[in-house]
Symmetry: C2
Subunit: 227 residues, 2 copies
């Protein structure tokens, strides 16, 4: 019975990969670079986006907000006058705990691809399934809040292993936590030793410049890699 | 295609319900009361369990630890000399982001049901899918960390709606956060106005007595309700 379950999961992932490639072709055609932004609930994805998008140095950004229900985050992004589309997994997609390529595909017509250079897809807050589904992105970024504890890379290794950048957020709380940053970095190295990492705080703005530069530089880095 | 997907999900949930009832019968036969403990990653489930189980006032407790991989939390519980079994969703179950009734059923033979009064099932850290799968529990408890923000009841309403108790954890961090507790409680009331809630901190021990009493009193409350 378990074998069948795994087989079904593999078939679903193959189908997802095909649709992710179609998304990628649409993004490439419009010269839009795409970030898949993931984290546990409440790690600070939206706050870090707000901080970065407020001043992106000439890069025109858009956002696709993934949530089970509601549009709390999309409303926050829209207040920055950044084009944003809401994708809810609840009504059409059975309340899924992640975005997949097909859901993102269904949202492409609502995105102004010809008017943006960068699309950030804010995934559903979850450290498990979002890591399993590519959606056509150029880069995967995850946010880990120091309030979550040092053991998270060991407990959710696929998420930490499949991303290109780990944003270690809420470092302003470090004096008030028993969080051991060295231990976290040791655990991160155990699952993904080469991943880029930044320590920052959306609340105080500490380290946000570095994250903003990383985002703004993505289109050039992707273009350089393609040459 | 979406309709088929939802239909498949409903069939899976029907099958889950049947197995959950079988689990419940096994627990009832051994007079073991069962708590399904859920939260986002890093909200403090294990720390709150450590605090409560260290001195449970004559109640004999056991723990079933659900994780995608590893046994970090089970090792912490075992150090308290509390019987604990580890259930990993990765090897046999395709890396699922939640426990379901069948997974719990597979772990029952490793649990010393005849020697305990209370079983706490610590679910995989996730605010979406664990809420959809009953596992045979008497009560569902969720932990919400104040570091996660006030909007979580609105973004993950099923989780907040299907539990009997919300543990609002890490209140020692309140002076260092922009978290508005009144706003959180307002949002909680919007999705589950009658749910019990406790404010506490596993780190300082504040409010933990109340949580420990709730756990220790569960067998009597269930017995009283059955009379």
């Amino acid at each position: 019975m378990h074998r069948t379950k795994v087989r079904v999961a593999e078939d679903a992932l193959d189908a997802n990969e095909t649709i992710a490639l179609a998304n990628r072709e649409d993004f490439d055609r419009a010269s839009v670079r795409v970030v898949n932004l993931m984290s546990a609930p409440g790690a600070g994805k939206t706050s870090l986006l707000e901080q970065a998008l407020a001043d992106l140095d000439g890069i025109r950004a858009g956002v696709l907000e993934g949530d089970v229900q509601g549009s709390v985050d999309a409303d926050r992004i829209a207040a920055l006058h950044v084009p944003v589309a809401q994708l809810n997994t609840d009504p059409g997609f059975g309340g899924e705990c992640h975005l997949d390529a097909n859901m993102v595909r269904s949202a492409i017509p609502s995105l102004p691809l010809d008017d943006i250079d960068l699309l950030v897809i804010e995934n559903v807050g979850n450290l498990v399934c979002p890591a399993e589904f590519r959606v056509g992105e150029d880069a995967r970024v995850m946010v880990a809040s120091v309030a979550e504890g040092e053991d998270k890379p060991l407990k959710y290794p696929l998420m930490f292993r499949t991303c290109e950048l780990v944003l270690i957020n809420k470092v302003d709380l470090l004096p008030h936590l028993d969080f051991d940053l060295d231990r976290f970095l040791y655990n991160l190295d155990a699952v993904n030793p080469d991943v880029a990492r930044m320590e920052l705080s959306a609340r105080t703005g500490e380290g946000v410049d570095q994250w903003r530069s990383w985002l703004a530089g993505l289109p050039n880095r992707v273009a350089a890699a393609a040459r």
